[in-house]
């Protein structure tokens, strides 16, 4: 079974891949926040260009990146459309009695550019190392244990659920069920299947908990981690972080 894994290309070699996960999370998060608060269209365009440059640097296959980005892109475009029609301002043109304002288009474009830039960075942050490295980095960065454990279990069991659902789907189809029909009957069957999955997951949660208890779980699992920061990690991290500040400081300086 092949699953759509976020870390499918974590084994590639590139400067981004060899960046220490902890340093990567910190510097990329700061960069993401910096990009998210940009107010200037040109700066946002430059930010997008910069994150695209990092994507190229990481050698992630373009098909993988596009595949990951297409769904959120739909949301971004819809925001652009909504902004164009709803923000008050100078009328750019009129569409069937609805006016499109230039302010709205500009604001929408700004939001889309910022979001895309941040999204590329997020993809890089998660896509260039194995997911458990991200989890361990979060654990080391003292992110609350409950959050790390929730992420950890979600990631561990999402594949189990996909497998369970697919085997249920196979069982249903081998008895002649077709998902294509949009009748309320087939929807109700699908609803039942999802319900069964919910009950199954509840019961599995119970069993997992028992298995954890039987190995002495008390609420705070300790992870042993072998990360070591190299000089290049410090350099790259400070470079990225100072860049994040530069994006906001340059209007003040110039």
């Amino acid at each position: 079974m092949v699953f759509p894994r976020i870390d499918a290309y974590s084994a590639l070699k590139s400067p981004i891949h060899s960046f220490d996960p902890r340093a990567k999370i910190i510097s990329f998060s700061i960069l993401i926040f910096s990009f998210a608060f940009l107010n200037d269209l040109k700066a946002a365009a430059f930010a997008l260009g910069f994150s695209l440059f990092l994507v190229l640097l990481s050698r992630l296959p373009l098909s993988f990146v596009l595949d990951r980005i297409k769904v959120p892109l739909v949301f971004f475009i819809s925001i652009l459309v909504i902004m164009a029609f709803t923000v008050e301002g100078a009328e750019l043109f009129n569409l069937f009695g609805l006016s499109v304002s230039s302010e709205g288009v500009l604001l929408g474009t700004l939001i889309v550019l910022r979001a895309l830039a941040a999204l590329f960075l997020l993809l890089l942050m998660l896509g260039t190392c194995r997911f458990e490295a991200v989890l361990k980095a979060l654990y080391m960065l003292k992110v609350p244990g409950v959050l790390v454990q929730m992420l950890m279990f979600s990631y561990r069991y999402i594949f189990v659920f996909i497998e369970e659902f697919l085997s249920m789907k196979n069982a249903m189809e081998s008895k002649g069920f077709q998902l294509r029909g949009k009748s309320s009957y087939s929807l109700s069957i699908l609803g039942n299947a999802v319900g069964v999955l919910l009950v199954k997951s509840y019961e599995r949660g119970d069993r997992v908990y028992k298995a954890m208890i039987s190995k002495g779980y008390t609420g705070n699992p300790k992870l042993f981690i072998k990360f070591n920061m190299k000089k290049s990690d410090y350099v790259l991290a400070s470079l990225l972080i100072s860049l994040a500040f530069c994006f906001h400081l340059y209007p003040v300086i110039l």
Partner: protein
């Protein structure tokens, strides 16, 4: 006399809003023994196992491990005594990598990083999966997962190992591997083994003594005693090993055999010994043979009997 590893005295348990799951259970297992618990589906085997390491605590304190009530022990002490391998591997591999999963128990015992590392490599070597430490659990095959689960428990070095259906859903090679690992743990390190299984054909390789559980303890004895009692087997949806049944039939045909073999290996030994001793194995049918065979078929496997003898 050997030490009492597990003693359960008149244990009762009922799930909320359900009828009783366990009724007046009495079990005694001695140190170094290999005990199998067999019974129909839903007989309460898993529930019983959850009592053995204190996951479910009996308020009467009647589950004792080496003389101490398991419910009163600290969690760290409990997992040093009893390790459980549950039926579903996916339930038990919940950490990001194989290493983390095996290190989970030892870490909870408060061991140092070096000691945990040692335990992990010891355990992974025991189950023969060296080199898979950094794999992600959901990329493993079913057989590998089962072995990793066993390693996660071995790493805690428990004195008692409880296994729930360890050979279910495994290919023959993995099954044989697993049986070998379990037997080695018992022989070389003196680990007491308690095992629940439906696979009667390999049961004799894994157990010296058998309890039949069907909400209550229905019977207790050596595998040979249990499998000889066909009324007991029938009443509890159980069956005897194929080899055992075959030799029962052979004995109707005049093959004299003192102890009916329970596994394929035993059967091979038995036949070879007879050939060596007597130079010949002769089978013959007499007047009573057919009715005797029919009776055995009837007693052991009701499904076959209708077809039997039609050719004659």
């Amino acid at each position: 006399m050997k030490k009492r590893a597990i003693s359960v005295e008149s244990l009762n348990y009922a799930y909320p809003r359900n009828k009783k799951a366990l009724e007046n259970i009495n079990i005694e297992v001695f140190e170094g023994e290999k005990v199998a618990i067999i019974g129909p589906n839903g007989a309460g085997k898993t529930t019983l196992f959850l009592h053995l390491n204190g996951t479910i605590k009996s308020p009467q304190k009647n589950v004792k491990i080496f003389g101490k009530s398991i419910g009163d022990m600290e969690i760290g002490a409990r997992i040093r005594e009893v390790g459980i391998v549950f039926a579903d591997s996916d339930d038990q591999l919940f950490m990001p990598t194989v290493y983390d999963d095996i290190a989970f128990g030892p870490t909870n015992m408060g061991l140092s990083k070096e000691e945990v590392d040692k335990r992990v490599s010891y355990a992974i070597e025991k189950v023969g999966l060296k080199g898979l430490e950094n794999r992600v659990p959901h990329h493993l095959s079913c057989g590998q997962k089962k072995k990793v689960v066993l390693a996660t428990v071995i790493a805690m070095r428990p004195k008692i190992l409880v296994l729930d259906e360890p050979t279910a859903n495994l290919d023959p090679k993995s099954r044989a591997d697993l049986i070998k690992i379990i037997n080695e743990l018992n022989r070389k390190e003196g680990v007491t083994i308690i095992i629940a299984m439906h696979d009667v054909n390999v049961l004799a390789e894994l157990a010296d003594r058998v309890y039949v559980l069907n909400r209550k303890i229905v019977a207790n004895g050596s595998p040979r005693e249990i499998f000889s009692d066909f009324t007991l087997l029938k009443a509890n949806n159980l069956d005897a090993p194929d080899v055992f049944k075959l030799f029962k039939i052979l004995s109707c045909l005049g093959y004299a055999c003192e102890n009916l073999p329970l596994s394929f290996d035993e059967a091979v030994n038995e036949v070879l010994n007879t050939i060596e001793r007597e130079g010949i194995i002769s089978l013959r049918a007499s007047e009573q043979t057919h009715s005797a065979i029919k009776e055995i078929m009837n007693n052991y496997s009701g499904v076959w009997t209708e077809g039997y003898g039609k050719g004659n």
